[in-house]
């Protein structure tokens, strides 16, 4: 039995490694190298990811790799850096950029989890001789006694819970993955880190997307894209033009700032219309939706329901889940009807279905269907492509 631990340089994964090493004594650490350093001096260099905010990526950049290495040394476990720049770019960064440009609001962390960490990295860990892969996620894995089915539940520390980002976990992944800190609070994790003398016991949390450490998604998307994004109109709900924008990638439904519309009543983005390249603004209440449709659902702790499922649905990280009815559509897709309207579910984000603490399943939001009464008739007809 040998467990690989994915070390990000943060305190959670370091403590995960400490726990594994303590209980099994045969852990080794792996850090994913997701970005190429930007050393312009070397001629003939590789294609480089323009990391926003300069040379230091917050997560998994050079500095964090050093902390991860130091943590591994403190614990006395072998440590290796694995280059995953091409995979990360292909599976996470490029789709992220494309999605923003299509007027969606992607969550790169879910793609990173299900495609990079718990697929590519997991397979590499197994190839290196590990039997399992542990990470520092705040989520709890279990097993249903009767069926033997693997289950995924929220982390014990509700503030730190990351289960929303893990809806892509398959049964096979859950067989081979461990979340050692899922049963702990952040306070306990930090305390344990101090006990082990880990260098990152008091390290600040990283909040932003790791490859956009300055939080400027729009600037990042612009730098990464090969061509200039087409602009369009900003309209109100009746279709009247209020201004112009220079690309949908800067907007998310529910957003209020950055519209450049000047005074007047407070305007919120209530819809993005990629086909028309339009940003629709309106009062806050217009951004509430009562229904959405998803891409194919990944069923996690339970099998796909035959018809409908009553559960709680969460449409963004740190949102109180709302009672809803999930009904199955063709090709594994689903429709979610909320018992009460939800503010600004965004296409590209995830709708995760919870039964109490348990992640039942989840999917990427394809279309949110808001109260359409305010839309003009042309837009009504384009309703299927409306991505509010």
């Amino acid at each position: 039995m040998r467990t690989a631990v994915a070390l990000s340089g943060g305190v959670d994964s370091s403590v995960a490694a400490a726990l594994i090493q303590e209980s099994e004594g045969a852990a080794f650490g792996l850090t994913m190298r997701l970005f190429a350093p930007t050393d312009e001096l070397i001629p003939g260099g590789l294609n480089r990811l323009p990391v926003a905010g300069g040379r230091k990526g917050r997560c998994c950049g050079g500095e964090d790799t050093d902390v991860a290495r130091l943590a591994a040394r403190t614990l006395g476990i072998p440590f290796y850096v694995l280059d995953m720049e091409p995979e990360f770019r292909r599976m996470v960064v490029d789709p992220f950029v494309a999605s923003y440009r299509a007027g969606r609001t992607p969550i790169p962390c879910t793609a990173c989890n299900s495609r990079v960490k718990f697929d590519h990295l997991l397979r590499r860990a197994l190839g290196l001789g590990a039997t399992r892969l542990a990470t520092g996620h705040y989520a709890r894995l279990g097993r249903e006694p009767g069926s033997g089915r693997r289950t995924l539940a929220r982390g014990l520390d509700r503030d730190k819970d990351q289960s929303y980002f893990l809806f892509g976990m398959t049964q096979k992944m859950m067989e081979q993955v461990l979340f050692p800190v899922g049963e702990m609070t952040k306070e306990e994790v930090r305390r344990l880190a101090r006990t082990h003398g880990l260098p990152n016991a008091d390290k600040a949390e990283s909040q932003d997307i790791c490859f956009v450490p300055d939080g400027d998604y729009r600037g990042f998307v612009r730098r990464m894209a090969a061509d200039t994004e087409a602009g369009g109109e900003i309209v109100d709900r009746s279709g009247q033009v209020l201004g112009r924008h220079d690309g949908l990638s800067g907007f998310t439904v529910g957003q209020r700032r950055g519209l450049g519309l000047g005074g007047g009543e407070k305007a919120y983005v209530v819809a993005l219309q990629p086909d028309l390249r339009r940003v629709v603004v309106g009062p806050r209440e217009a951004a509430f939706c009562h229904q959405l449709e998803t891409e194919a659902v990944n069923w996690v702790s339970c099998a796909a329901p035959s018809h409908t499922l009553e559960c709680h649905v969460q449409v963004r990280h740190r949102q109180e889940p709302v009672p809803a009815t999930v009904s199955m559509l063709s090709q594994g897709r689903a429709r979610v009807r909320f018992d009460r309207p939800v503010l600004a579910p965004a296409a590209g984000q995830a709708a995760v279905f919870y039964g109490d603490q348990m992640v039942l399943g989840g999917a990427v939001i394809e279309t949110a269907i808001c109260d359409g009464t305010w839309l003009d008739s042309t837009t009504q007809e384009a309703g299927a492509s409306l991505t509010a």
Partner: protein, 386 residues
């Protein structure tokens, strides 16, 4: 766990002679070798001896050696020194050069020199005529061609290039860091040749290196300072490390061809058997002139760094190319220059033997390597398989 060390091209373990001398220097040679007193003279004696030993190894006059803090500084000192002392405008370098040489060229490019990179052939060897033509096509200040490649071990046509450039008085920097103990001829002959040596590749310790350059060659010092090293390198030299380098050089200069030939036989047998036992392996330059201690191969569909990690955990130290980008794992620039794509270049694994490597060790390594490769393949960690 018993360890088997097959990464001598990154760093060779210090030879017993080097360790012994290090202790002596710490006891009696710690003073400043430029000082006029007894303690200074004692320190100076160690420096002089080391210079004689390194000169003998390189088969050059003792005045042709000046010491640096290592191969990287030597590369900067030689390129910078030669380029700024002349009138040429361009710097010609091969696509096989080490990162230290590339960085020195890039630094000079910022000062106005035009860098001209000449790619090697697909076989990993520079075409001498092509390189010479590039040098003669412009007003070349200095050229750089590695003696034998640190990753593939492939030997480069430095003598032909040195002869042709020498006829035009163009200085040629030859990175010979991997050559001592592994090749009979460390540097090409020629008054316009500048050689680079590093202590920790030859059984000394990291922190010392040398430039081989004729005493009358005009050189602009890369590190200005005092009058040390005949004004070619300022700063008090790292004496203990230089003395250890000298001891290692003396050891290598005194040995015949037998250790090289033995390493070559072990390597060749290893490769022969590996090709029978493992699939999807391409050995680089197998039929060509190589450093006899170096075995470099590409694994199909498995990143070389995974092979390195898996072998490390079973007690075998190898590398996936140049160790010079610490902890990171970028594909070899030289393999890219040879025309391999990035995915293919990621599969590089390098074993570099030492003179103490045994047949039993190589047999054991082959066995565990075959097992490790089988497992890595089974999980399909290949890039592109998602």
């Amino acid at each position: 766990m018993r360890r088997i060390y097959l990464d001598h091209n990154a760093t060779s373990p210090p030879l017993p002679e080097a360790r012994a001398l290090l202790r002596q220097v710490l006891a009696t040679g710690w003073a400043n070798p430029a000082s006029a007193h007894l303690e200074g003279r004692q320190a100076r004696a160690f420096l002089d001896t080391a210079r004689e030993q390194v000169a003998r190894l390189a088969r050059v006059p003792v005045t042709s050696i000046f010491f640096t803090s290592g191969g990287t500084e030597a590369a900067h000192a030689a390129l910078h020194g030669a380029a700024l002392a002349g009138t040429g405008e361009q710097i010609v370098f091969s696509g096989l050069e080490h990162a230290a040489v590339r960085a020195a060229v890039a630094g000079l490019a910022e000062r106005g020199f035009r860098p001209v990179e000449v790619p090697p052939g697909r076989d990993g060897v520079m075409d001498a005529q092509r390189f010479i033509s590039a040098c003669l096509a412009g007003d070349t200040a200095v050229a750089a061609l590695i003696r034998a490649h640190n990753e593939t071990g492939l030997v480069q046509p430095v003598q032909a290039v040195a002869d042709a450039l020498g006829a035009h008085g163009i200085p040629l920097v030859v990175d010979a860091v991997q050559a001592p103990g592994r090749l009979h001829s460390i540097l090409p002959r020629g008054e316009h040749v500048l050689g680079l040596l590093s202590a920790h590749k030859i059984g000394g310790l990291p922190g010392a290196g040398a430039v081989v350059a004729a005493a009358d060659r005009p050189m602009v010092p890369f590190l200005g300072g005092g009058e040390q090293e005949r004004r070619r390198r300022g700063g008090t030299p790292p004496l203990a490390l230089i003395a250890a380098m000298g001891a290692a050089a003396a050891h290598l200069a005194g040995q015949g061809s037998e250790p090289r030939e033995r390493m070559g036989r072990l390597r060749d047998e290893f490769e022969e058997e590996l090709l029978h036992e493992a699939e999807g392996i391409e050995i680089l330059g197998r039929e060509m002139a190589r450093l006899p201690n170096t075995c470099a191969f590409l694994v199909e569909g498995v990143p070389g760094e995974d092979v390195v990690a898996a072998l490390d955990m079973v007690g075998v130290a190898v590398s996936s190319g140049s160790a010079c980008s610490t902890g990171s794992a970028r594909p070899s620039e030289s393999l890219l220059a040879m025309g391999y794509d990035r995915d293919r270049a990621r599969g590089l694994v390098r074993l570099s033997l030492g003179s103490g490597t045994t047949r039993a060790e190589m047999d054991h390594v082959r066995e565990v390597l075959v097992t490790v490769l089988g497992r890595l393949r089974r999980y399909g960690a290949a890039s592109g398989v998602s």
